[in-house]
Symmetry: C2
Subunit: 136 residues, 2 copies
């Protein structure tokens, strides 16, 4: 889907605890840095839809598993991220995003090119975009 | 200690899963962004010492609890971070850092102003700096 990039990330084994890459300034998908924040999502709960008008998201799932759905007005793209499918999901502004928690604990990091600004994003009720969420 | 900043971070309650602040470009302690990576540390294990010669660390503990010890050549500073003591730890270059895992699962995020470069940091054996780690 135009405006979406999936970038595989390295996991580096260490006997005292592994290291997980996130994002480098030199990576494809890097759009600037202004804010990093974490979001958790309970199992079976869905946050969304949200459409950012200016912000590019760079999303990394470091704990549990999260199912992301991206809607461009015509098509849906679905991707499940976890340490087992450890990729960074870059989402350009103008796309609608929703996400659902799959495991007991689910944690994502967003490395955003803009600081949070409620004026910049549009919330759309879950039922206003007709996507068929399967069972977990 | 000179070169060390602790910045309390907000946790925002959300019925579907809380949000945790990380770092904004406008925050005190922000020194630039070039790389974000996660590091895990097993319970009772200690990573360190490491002295960065150029990199400023911005460390956030999002899962479990991690005990950090910072040594400036004379004094030690000890701080335990977790969601219960949710602060960002900024460490300027030139200081020695070691950290120990306290819980079963412990996860930190470093928001670094430089990309990883093994030439930029100095590893010092744990026993070369005489710090008395207590029992967990």
């Amino acid at each position: 889907m135009d405006g979406v990039i999936l970038t595989p990330l390295k996991q580096i084994h260490h006997p005292k605890g592994d290291v997980f890459h996130g994002m480098k300034k030199s990576d494809i998908g890097y759009a600037g840095f202004s804010e990093a924040y974490f979001s958790t999502i309970h199992k079976g709960d869905i946050k969304g839809w949200k459409k950012h008008t200016k912000m590019t998201l760079n999303l990394i799932v470091i704990t549990g598993e999260i199912e992301f759905v991206i809607f461009n007005g015509t098509d849906f793209l679905t991707v499940k991220l976890s340490r087992n499918n450890y990729q960074r999901l870059t989402v350009s502004p103008g796309l609608c995003v929703a996400f659902r928690g799959i495991e007991k604990e689910n944690l994502l990091l967003n490395l955003a090119d803009l600081e949070h600004d409620p004026q910049e994003s549009i919330n759309i009720l879950l039922q206003e975009i007709n996507y068929s969420w399967g069972t977990i």
